[in-house]
């Protein structure tokens, strides 16, 4: 008997193929290396220094001394271990690659669509590129990051991923939106 454990994405079977991308597009990332970093009490500055100085990690603010770390450089299987080594005694690291789903919403109406469910002012002056925060989107708590003038990353708990996509489709009802898995 062979033992292989093919991974299933939380949104497998709920997202159909699309003929073409529309003006606004929601791209679901298939695999993403995600970890939560919790600074050891009293070591927040040290942990932050290490996290933010490395180009290998995208550390998104989650709470004081807590970051949601994404990486395009490290694999889901190795990110947490890599972070643990780098952060040493300054932080606890928990792999969340299976616990979160990452989506990218982009297009000219991206901010307008999000305003149908998010109370934070998403005007580029108030929420500039590079800003990240945990926010309530409709009924769900997500981590929102502005990655471009017209693009946002949404990171959501895995069990809520389907609900979030449903909500986003409703929020975008009056706007042209397509949903697909990311190709990369």
């Amino acid at each position: 008997m062979a033992y292989e454990y093919q991974a299933v994405h939380a949104l497998d079977g709920t997202i159909g193929a699309i003929a073409e991308r529309r003006a606004n597009h929601l791209s679901v990332h298939r695999t993403t290396a995600v970890a939560m970093v919790l600074a050891v009490p009293g070591q927040t500055a040290e942990a932050a220094g290490i996290l933010l100085s490395s180009g290998e990690f995208e550390a998104r603010f989650s709470g004081p001394g807590e970051w949601l770390v994404l990486s395009e450089v490290h694999a889901p299987e190795t990110l947490a271990a890599e972070l643990s080594v780098r952060l040493g005694d300054f932080a606890f690291v928990v792999d969340q690659s299976h616990g979160r789903v990452v989506l990218t919403l982009s297009g000219p109406d991206a901010a307008r669509i999000l305003a149908n469910g998010i109370a934070v002012d998403l005007h580029a002056d108030a929420f500039p590129v590079g800003r990240a925060a945990n926010v309530l989107c409709s009924h769900l708590s997500i981590n929102l990051a502005r990655t471009g003038n017209e693009s946002f990353d949404l990171v959501v708990m895995r069990s809520f991923a389907e609900a979030l996509v449903d909500d986003l489709k409703v929020m975008a009802r009056s706007h042209d939106l397509s949903v697909d898995f990311a190709t990369r």
Partner: protein, 985 residues
């Protein structure tokens, strides 16, 4: 004698005819009409019946305060009852129906109430209908209910959709009349983020019905140019058809945009209404002023409108309210309407001014009666004449419309919604907005500036202050050139003495001056008492027209000033808002988010029936094709687990990872049982209390390292426990060095239970999991064959040899499949929460069916777990209170039905045999029941007074609600394997 469309003029598109129906009759209007203006243009004056007396009523206003012109628009599932015709945008095919009449608007049986009106004075119903006692509900109340109410609905499902959105701005301007446009323009030119909300479908407010040119062009042209400039500014958002209905804390405004309420065909991709939550740094209310009706005998007959409405219909819609109009005024406004009518060639029967003298000048050729008043009107379904009185001399003046003006009240509603009380201005004879700080200011007529030039000026001035307050410099202020304007003042006239018939104060609710007199006479003179006793101001217009007159009349009767009477409370909503708009898209299946387990697909493939459990869907049972009932499936699953093995999805449990040097100490304070000395690699049952000593939640605590724990919670309490832990860590003991994180979503977790569990699991797990190396309560990381890291816990809820295996969520389905394959030859089955419930019940394990928030550890038979020697834990101190340790508390017991054919249901109560049911005799209640395939009978868990002393007693399981009484024997709650031999095997 008719109301009619003027030959020219107005902002309607005369090239575009629109067909609509009213009570089945097909009529024609124009684009740009409201339903009200189109009805008037078709000489349809009678549009509704009043609430109490069913009196014939016509349109009174040209705006949102309309008390009479309420109709039902649309049909079938798109029926909107109680729609104000005065704000309803006309569209092709609009179907409107009158309300509150039977059999027809013209012949309404309910009008008999009018003849009986002397018996139906304010509050009459409090004084009668009491005999015989049963008659109120059987006879009187149904009659009253049928007669009352307005529009009709049978509550069909709404086919349309709604949307909600947040918006943020430096300045919100409410109203797009002269002050609003002026304010928005200054703010826009100065670079502010501006939102301009206008309730009408055209921007311009009063400018749309203004006859005076502005800067040499018609006022509406001027308005259109300003709006075009605003529209082209990227920093301005224009919201037409948008009513700002509420002002809430922190300068958040609620507004509703009627996106598709005035369209013939609804575009399903767009909402019909959109609710805006506008977060405004500053707001300017340029909401204008409301013209007051005059309170005179017969003032409610169709054809009697406010003067400004008559002007609006003439100037904006090109409609004359009648061929011969009597104007009755107490100030300048009536003269203005007379001028507007004269300019359009409409005959003015008379201009009656209640003031003996004034500087106002009547248009040439118009008969002016200074110091006069209307004391009665004639006509049935429309006004035919008025009885004018001047110095005791009465005169009948024929006319087919009356324009009345009782002066002006600034629209201050929003400014008073947060507790600020309106302030009486003796000079303006009106209530003004209170000073509520710089976040919200009034401008223009809403601030008591009634001249156009003042409005432009005031809007610009207020906007400039906002520009400076947000740290920018003012630019682009220019004032339009306006001609000479007349003095806008008036002399208050709360009611006309000597009325010959009812003089209405609140049209819709039929409150007239005598009702107010009665209220004062009976001690209900306080403005709130008068409102509640007479129902004045409680109609759909919420007293927008009538309250000020009521206050004036009460003041007169009580001999005090209106300031002393004060107003009733202004509350949201400024105008009524649909449930749909307020609810938005968060309804039905979207009311709450759905959570999916990582094993959902696995369960579905294995044929699970799902059930909602909080936000989750959980697999409930796994029917086989031959099985006819859920009981059959569950019985099979239970037997199979007890004899072979089963696999159950337990991923929905809350899972929290705890780190830090003080992690053990922290958990030791959190759970009532000891945690401090839990060895690494071991799990333990954990019980959490609330500070009041009651059980809060239970779960497991596993130590994965010296400073690393993994704890589980029940599915139901997962989020509550996390908050509770955060409270303990951040508020109670911030000095403890501990960090934790919910990892519920990272792991797919499955329980493998049954005598063959180890054999099956070992086929998949690389590590040795023999009883010796992985004994009961072992907990550690293992490696699965195929090189996948997992966490394995030897814990059991079923009482069988059992494990919980956690793997990264995405791999869950594949691992479950592998286990099912490995277990196939051993007879493994998938089982759901129903079977889990039977298994745990047979073993006497509690869930939140037992732990209902009123149960102590001892009640649940878990008293021995309390770490009484621990220094402290949450709930320790109060758990020793007298009431929590009393001997007669209800304790957890088992029940075995002694009548095998009869089942027991949770929720039944317990009674001693032969004792009369009563609250005092109540012995306890049944918390969980099932049919036990293992024991072959019905069993239950129950709470029974002093239950542990009563094993062996026969007791009545009393379920009167279902008409069932069963005998059961009280026993130990552990029905299966009390020695734990299976568990430890």
């Amino acid at each position: 004698m008719t109301a009619y469309r003027l030959a020219s003029g107005g902002l309607v598109d005369r090239s575009h005819g629109i067909r609509f129906t009213f009570d089945g009759a097909t009529l024609t209007g124009h684009a740009g009409d409201t339903l009200a203006s189109a009805l008037l243009a078709n000489d349809t004056l009678l549009v509704g019946r009043s609430f109490k007396y069913h009196r014939p009523r016509g349109i009174v206003t040209a705006g949102p305060s309309e008390p009479n012109g309420l109709v039902t628009i649309g049909s079938g599932v798109r029926r909107d009852p109680n729609t104000r015709a005065t704000v309803a945008e006309l569209y092709d095919g609009l179907e409107a129906r009158s309300q509150n009449r039977w059999p027809s608007l013209a012949y309404d049986i309910g009008a008999v109430n009018n003849l009986m009106s002397r018996f139906l004075s304010a509050g009459f119903y409090y004084k009668t209908f009491m005999w015989p006692a049963a008659f109120w509900e059987k006879v009187y109340e149904p009659l009253i209910r049928r007669a009352a109410g307005l529009g009709r609905t049978d509550l069909p499902r709404d086919p349309d959709s709604y949307e909600k959105s947040w918006a943020h701005c430096d300045l919100l301007v409410v109203g797009s009349g002269p002050a609003g446009l002026s304010a928005a323009l200054v703010a826009a030119r100065s670079g502010l983020r501006v939102i301009l909300a206008e309730q009408d479908f055209v921007f311009g407010g009063a400018l749309l019905s203004e006859a005076m040119p502005i800067g040499g062009e018609p006022a509406y042209v001027f308005a259109r140019r300003v709006v075009e400039e605003l529209q082209s500014s990227p920093n301005v958002t224009l919201l037409p058809r948008t009513t700002v209905f509420g002002w809430y804390d922190d300068n958040v405004f609620g507004a509703v945009e009627r996106v598709q309420k005035g369209v013939a065909v609804v575009d399903a991709t767009k909402p019909v209404e959109r609710m805006w939550r506008i977060v405004a740094k500053h707001a300017i209310l340029a909401t204008g002023a409301e013209e007051r009706p005059l309170v005179f005998g017969g003032n409610d007959r169709p054809g009697i409108l406010t003067a400004s409405a008559v002007s609006t219909y003439a100037n904006r819609f090109g409609v004359a309210a009648g061929e011969s109009v009597t104007v009755f005024t107490n100030g300048a406004s009536g003269y203005r309407t007379a001028r507007d009518l004269a300019a359009q060639g409409v005959e003015i029967a008379a201009l009656i001014d209640s003031r003996p003298a004034s500087g106002d000048i009547a248009p040439a050729g118009v008969r002016l009666l200074r110091g006069g008043a209307i004391v009665d009107t004639k006509g049935r379904h429309r006004v035919r004449a008025v009885v004018a009185d001047r110095g005791g001399f009465e005169e009948l003046i024929a006319c087919d419309a009356v324009a009345m003006s009782g002066g002006w009240s600034p629209v201050i509603h929003l400014a008073c919604q947060r507790g600020g009380k309106p302030v009486w201005s003796e000079a303006l004879q009106a209530f003004m907005a209170p000073d509520v700080g710089s976040g919200l200011v009034m401008a223009g007529a809403a601030a008591g500036h009634y001249l156009l030039s003042e409005c432009f000026d005031d809007g610009a001035r207020k906007a400039s202050a906002v520009v400076e307050a947000v740290g920018r410099s003012v630019s682009g202020v220019e004032q339009p050139v306006i001609g000479e304007e007349a003095d806008p003042s008036f002399t208050a006239l709360w009611h006309v003495p000597g009325a010959k018939s009812k003089a209405f104060v609140d049209f819709q609710n039929d409150v007239h001056t005598k009702d107010l007199g009665l209220a004062v006479r009976e001690g209900f003179g306080h403005v709130e008492h008068a409102k509640r006793y007479t129902t004045g101001g409680m109609a759909t217009d919420q007293g927008k027209l009538g309250n000020i007159n009521a206050i004036g009349i009460l003041a007169g009767m009580r001999g005090v000033s209106p300031a002393e009477v004060g107003t009733t409370t202004f509350r949201p909503f400024y105008t009524p808002v649909s449930f749909g708009a307020m609810a938005g898209a968060s309804i039905g299946e979207h009311a709450m988010p759905t959570r999916r387990s990582p094993l959902h697909g696995w369960a579905a493939r294995n044929g699970a029936v799902f059930i909602d459990a909080g936000l989750w869907y959980r697999s409930s049972w796994f029917p086989k094709a031959v099985e006819k009932s859920w009981r059959e499936s569950v019985d099979r699953e239970v037997r199979n687990v007890r004899e072979n093995a089963g696999l159950c999805d337990v991923s929905t449990l809350g899972k929290i990872e705890v780190f830090g040097p003080d992690a053990a100490e922290f958990l030791n304070r959190l759970y009532c049982n000891p945690v401090l000395k839990l060895p690494v690699g071991k799990a333990r049952y954990g019980l959490m209390l609330r500070e009041d000593g009651m059980v809060y939640d239970d779960g497991t605590v596993s130590r994965l390292g010296d400073e690393h724990f993994f704890v589980t919670t029940t599915t139901a309490m997962a989020s509550g426990v996390l908050s509770h832990m955060e409270f303990a860590a951040q508020v109670l003991w911030p000095d403890l060095r501990v960090r934790f994180l919910s990892v519920s979503d990272q792991w797919a977790q499955m329980s493998i239970a049954g005598p063959k569990a180890r054999t099956i699991l070992q086929a998949v797990v690389e590590d040795d999991i023999s009883n010796a190396s992985f004994p009961f309560l072992a907990a550690r990381e293992v490696r699965l064959k195929g090189n996948l890291k997992a966490r394995l816990f030897r814990i059991s809820f079923s009482g069988e040899l059992a494990y919980e295996l956690a793997v990264p969520a995405g791999h869950g389905e594949a691992v479950a499949d592998a286990l099912m394959r490995a277990g196939a030859s051993h007879g493994i089955c998938a089982y759901g929460v129903e079977t889990l419930n039977v298994l745990r019940l047979e073993k006497g394990h509690v869930t939140h069916a037992e732990l209902d928030g009123r149960v102590t550890p001892d009640d649940a038979g878990l008293g021995r777990m309390m770490g009484t020697s621990k220094a402290d834990f949450i709930g320790k101190r109060l758990s020793t209170r007298f009431g929590l340790t009393a001997a007669d508390r209800m304790q957890l017991v088992g029940l075995k039905s002694v009548e095998p054919e009869k089942d027991m249901r949770a929720g039944a109560h317990l009674l001693k045999d032969g004792v009369k049911p009563s609250t005092i005799n109540d012995q306890g209640w049944v918390s969980s029941t099932c049919f036990s395939p293992t024991l072959g009978g019905h069993i239950a868990l129950a709470f029974l007074k002093s239950g542990r002393e009563r094993y062996g007693e026969k007791i009545v399981v009393w379920d009167q609600l279902r008409g069932v009484e069963t005998f059961a024997e009280v026993c130990d709650p552990v029905f299966v394997d009390p020695e734990n031999t299976k568990l430890m095997a």
